[in-house]
């Protein structure tokens, strides 16, 4: 990202003030104290703007970073320690919310069946149906802005898992990710297709352009992928997460395509959605059977983590979708600040 975002509370304020320093002080004890106060405030971490923004900034150091600060903050031990404490709270909150997860027989097809079943059993608000049938142009823009904080770096968090897998699961992840990255053809990565969709609606399409507008619950959904992707111990969750992402993609993306055509758009705006209808009908089969299933078949100890990652998607998609639908149905914006500059 080009610039650091604006603070959302005491902790993100302290972090951002630290990151603009050039001396990388070895002791950042004040951040730990501020974090303790933030935890003490007892707000749900999934909806806590200050904590989710802080975690997002700490994770971004490992992706494209921020142009305005020193790059070696990425592995600065006090920041890693701070991140670890937030992650522990975040992960515990996710585990508490997810509860019991399925434990099918440890073979690939049974795992795929159980994952597909989770998507069928889910009963959340349908953002895709709303976009297909009712969303206004402004709401369609909001929808893209929410998605942009992941889709403009689509596939990157899951790619962290490739070196941590072997055999069938590794091959499956490489096969999916290669497709996500456009098969190696410049300009065809899914992130770039999404950028063209945003461009077509008159939106900025550099990663993070709309960070100020994105609420905590949307940040939480992308922070969860980074949490899984950056920790080897969560390679199972990364696989389960990707499997559910793929399994809940083809049908909704057909609806999104339909919605944007209803609003008068066509290619290249709709290319991203059309591509996902077709690509993810392939990916969901590979991700369920070969990736998640292959991983568990090779090592049944991965079962719990795979399904934890899977259930996390369903949880957070529901909460983020509910957030958007509640706003739209009450006639307000689902973003933190009203869109500016987009006519």
């Amino acid at each position: 990202m080009r610039v650091l975002p604006t603070e959302r509370g005491p902790l993100s304020s302290a972090l951002l003030a630290t990151l603009i320093r050039t001396d990388l002080p070895p002791d950042l004890g004040h951040l730990g104290e501020t974090l303790q106060e933030a935890f003490g405030a007892d707000a749900d971490i999934l909806f806590n703007e200050d904590l989710q923004l802080t975690l997002f900034v700490l994770y971004e150091l490992h992706y494209s970073g921020f142009d305005s600060i020193r790059e070696d903050w990425e592995w600065h031990p006090p920041l890693l320690a701070l991140r670890k404490r937030i992650e522990e709270r975040f992960e515990q909150r996710l585990k508490d919310a997810v509860g019991e997860v399925p434990h099918p027989a440890p073979n690939a097809q049974a795992v795929a069946d159980a994952l597909f079943e989770m998507t069928r059993a889910a009963t959340g608000p349908s953002v895709s149906s709303f976009v297909a049938r009712q969303a206004t142009l402004e709401q369609a823009r909001e929808f893209l802005i929410h998605k942009s904080i992941y889709q403009l770096k689509e596939a990157d968090p899951h790619t962290w898992a490739i070196p941590r897998l072997t055999g069938r699961a590794k091959s499956a992840l490489v096969e999916i990710q290669a497709d996500e990255y456009g098969g190696g053809v410049p300009g065809r990565t899914h992130a770039e297709l999404f950028a063209r969709t945003m461009e077509g609606l008159g939106l900025e399409h550099d990663f993070g352009s709309y960070i100020e507008a994105i609420p905590a619950i949307t940040l939480a959904s992308v922070n969860a992928i980074s949490l899984f992707g950056l920790h080897r111990r969560h390679r199972g969750a990364t696989c389960g997460h990707l499997a559910i992402y793929e399994m809940t993609s083809s049908l909704p993306n057909a609806k999104y395509a339909r919605g944007f055509r209803r609003l008068g758009f066509d290619s290249p705006v709709t290319d991203y959605f059309d591509e996902h209808v077709e690509a993810d009908a392939v990916h969901e089969q590979i991700a369920g059977r070969d990736l998640a299933g292959g991983l568990i078949e090779a090592d049944p100890r991965m079962m719990q983590d795979v399904f934890f990652g899977a259930a996390t998607v369903i949880l957070l998609d529901t909460l983020a979708g509910t957030w958007q639908m509640n706003a739209w149905q009450s006639g307000t914006s689902s973003l933190r600040a009203q869109l500016q500059g987009a006519s």
Binding site: S128, S129, L251, S267, A281
Partner: protein, 148 residues
Amino acid sequence: MSGSGPTSITVCPRGPLIVRGSFDILDGDNQPVDPRRGTVALCRCGGSKIKPFCDGTHKLLRFDEPQQQNAGRDGGTPPNPSQHNNKEQDTMNENQEPTNDVSDEAKDRDTRKDHVSDPALSTDTGHDWTDEGGATASGPALDADASE
């Protein structure tokens, strides 16, 4: 742009055919169909709007469900029946709410908080939108709105 190496076809239970390796797809006039990726999913349920490719419609059609696909199949053991496995009869039913099945109600209540949301499975009006298209420019995406 298919992949390389030996060709394999995986028959996905209740789903498409996954074709890997080196292959050509030809239409009825013997003209090549661009696979657009190395591995493809070919429609097996007949409901796809982007045939010959799969678009996930088999889930809406409940293609090949239930049961017979699993019996005696290698690697085909169904999920643990103690987990979520008796939902198959209700999630795809139109007009299912309110359900008068007490156990389903309790289960829905239990799961609503945490296990929610596949927008594709929405039960709102006309959710079985398999006739609506929308995935391709040639589909009825634009004109279908007039009927709503």
